[in-house]
């Protein structure tokens, strides 16, 4: 019986999409050969936002956990990096996964508290958690207290002796991290959890009545996103070489931008955050001089998208052309037509 059908994930457009991603990866991995320092810096920043937005999308778009406090984990990741390298002599590139693990462990009791708040109140609750992390970090005098701290030169040079090699190294780690985050999300969505998550996204009540353990699935997603977000955070601050409570736990940088990117690109679709990040950086390169007016416009665009095209840019494209860049479809192929086709 089991052998009589199989599940097919790929479509024709996802074959094209996979090729596009593969070619893109090769071109981007070779960026140190064709790009200057500014290009690498910009690309790393883009990778960080693609990763953060993809993780937030998994949390809010699929699991329905609308958090406005993910800066808690970005900042925590950054602070774990600085604390473990400065105070315990851990190698910076080991500190990145360490930051993920510690954030995942801390996320468990946090989820225990936050899941008591329903729907809307969960969102503000996560913000309180981020504030608590920020206030605690400003009390740690060994890490510079409220004014922050720089990564000592010795730790920086331990990664690689020449500055250029260091920059290449961090660039490749950033690229590897975003690819790993995207691959993990695609694999998760193709697993049993993915089916459960898609069901929760579409209708939580129906998912529950079909036997999906909604709370457990949400908990797994919350912890996984904390893990990923903290690693991205650690890498962001490894690149900045300086951390302070206000930059580490900034709601504008790590949550507002991320939400706008996801909403504009298309929430609840894996492609959305990628498209959104590209749009965000194109807008920023042209409009950044406007300062606070730029943020104001971004907020207005996000509201307009939410009201008029709630599925975002990619949602519009996907519906119009039936495209899917990643093999996430589930189509049953029965043995009979598998033989004939």
């Amino acid at each position: 019986m089991n052998a009589s059908f199989r599940v097919e994930h790929a479509t024709r457009s996802s074959h094209v999409g996979t090729v596009v991603f593969a070619v893109g990866f090769v071109v981007l991995a070779a960026a140190p050969a064709w790009g200057g320092r500014d290009d690498l810096r910009l690309l790393s920043e883009i990778y960080a936002y693609v990763a953060l937005a993809s993780l937030w999308n998994l949390l809010a778009g699929y699991a329905g956990l609308v958090s406005v406090g993910q800066q808690a984990y970005v900042g925590l990741g950054g602070y774990v990096l600085f604390a473990s390298t400065i105070l315990a002599g851990v190698h910076p590139l080991v500190a990145v996964p360490l930051a993920g693990v510690i954030a995942g462990v801390i996320a468990l009791p946090v989820a225990g508290l936050m899941f008591r708040l329903r729907g809307h109140y969960f969102a503000i609750g996560t913000w309180v958690v981020a504030e608590v992390f920020r206030l605690i970090s400003s009390q740690i005098s060994a890490l510079g207290g409220g004014s922050g701290i720089s990564l000592p030169a010795g730790i920086v040079t331990a990664m690689a002796s020449s500055r250029q090699m260091r920059e290449f190294l961090i660039y490749w780690v950033a690229l590897a991290l975003v690819v790993a985050v995207l691959a993990a999300i695609v694999l998760l969505l193709r697993s049993r959890y993915g089916l459960a998550l898609t069901a929760i996204r579409d209708n939580e009540l129906a998912a529950r009545s079909n036997g999906v353990d909604v709370t457990r699935t949400k908990l797994v997603v919350y912890i996984l996103t904390a893990f990923g977000t903290a690693m991205v955070g650690a890498l962001i601050f490894l690149q900045k070489l300086r951390i302070s409570p206000d930059t580490a736990f900034s709601v504008n940088d790590w949550t507002a931008f991320v939400i706008f990117i996801t909403v504009i690109g298309g929430i609840g679709r894996v492609e959305g955050p990628i498209i959104g990040t590209i749009v965000f950086f194109l807008l920023r390169q042209t409009l950044a001089d406007l300062g606070s007016l730029y943020l104001l416009m971004l907020g207005a665009v996000a509201i307009a998208v939410m009201l008029m095209a709630p599925k975002g840019i990619w949602g519009l494209i996907a519906e119009r052309f039936g495209w899917q860049l990643l093999p996430l479809e589930r189509r049953l192929r029965f043995a009979a037509d598998a033989r004939t086709t």
């Binding site: 406005v68 504030e131 400003s138 104001l296």
Partner: protein, 288 residues
């Protein structure tokens, strides 16, 4: 004596938090909407008060009479034009739209008024105080603010349970479709609730602006204080928000006494503690 003084000051500031919380609880009760821009609207009220006092030369406490109707009108328009379109079963649209609104208000205020911190001058009343007991002094302004908060909450309670408008609020809260069948226009009822919510925070915004320095970035923290007071107090009644505000105010005052860096942290930790041991809050709604 020192500690009594601290607790008294905490209770008095709690009245301000209760007003933040009452506005939040009101709209959540009526339409299950959590307004992330709530704190920024409080700051907007403070800036409107600043403009009013600057141009008309009024005392800020008298300017309340002008700020309240302006904020109520903004609330009504905001709900009719924008927020009504986000309501539904999905929690995402209202959260994201009010989050976007929060960013817009903050940056618009930054653009118009710059990041300089401002303060409203209320004259002699700012420093007036009288002794309550040996070593315990009560400021006239904090006391006035507390009395106004109690009056506002008592007023909301009467409005909810004794008037036709309150009946409409409770009816739409209980069952939107039945309320509509009985001839209520939900869009109008929701807009009135938002107008009332912003009227309440207009009062709070003026008192905030007289008591402390303010700048465009302080909104989110006020949202969090209001939210914490709502959860600590429980969603039972408007009086719960007063209790929640007082608990939060006293926690912050005690924290500040231990170490100035602990003022906000102590408030947040009290909130998390209540969430851990009594998630339904101190005064939960009695299930009938």
């Amino acid at each position: 004596m020192e500690w009594i003084n601290i607790i008294v000051q905490g209770v008095l500031i709690g009245g301000l938090y209760a007003m933040f919380a009452a506005g939040l609880a009101l709209i959540f009760g009526v339409m299950r909407l959590v307004n992330i821009a709530h704190g920024d609207l409080i700051v907007l009220a403070a800036y409107i008060a600043l403009m009013t006092t600057d141009t008309l030369g009024l005392n800020p406490l008298i300017a309340i009479a002008i700020v309240v109707p302006i904020m109520a009108a903004i609330g009504y328009a905001l709900q009719r034009a924008l927020l009504n379109r986000t309501l539904g079963d999905d929690v995402l649209p209202p959260l994201l739209v009010t989050f976007g609104l929060s960013v817009i208000i903050q940056n618009a205020l930054l653009e118009v008024f710059t990041a300089d911190s401002r303060r409203l001058k209320a004259g002699a009343i700012e420093v007036a105080s009288f002794p309550l007991a040996e070593g315990v002094w009560i400021g006239v302004l904090p006391l006035l603010q507390f009395v106004v908060a109690v009056a506002v909450i008592a007023g909301l309670q009467v409005l909810f349970y004794r008037t036709a408008l309150g009946r409409a609020f409770r009816a739409t809260s209980d069952d939107q479709s039945v309320a509509q069948l009985m001839g209520l226009d939900n869009r109008h009822v929701f807009a009135l609730a938002m107008a009332l919510s912003l009227a309440v925070i207009a009062v709070a915004g003026v008192f905030l602006a007289v008591r402390t320095n303010f700048d465009p970035a302080i909104g989110p923290a006020r949202l969090i204080f209001g939210f914490e007071a709502v959860i600590i107090g429980g969603l039972g009644s408007m009086w719960g928000t007063l209790a929640g505000g007082i608990v939060l105010g006293v926690s912050q005052a005690i924290g500040a006494q231990i170490d100035p860096g602990w003022q906000l942290l102590a408030g947040h930790l009290t909130f998390l503690l209540i969430l851990a041991v009594r998630p339904e809050g101190l005064f939960p709604k009695v299930q009938g």
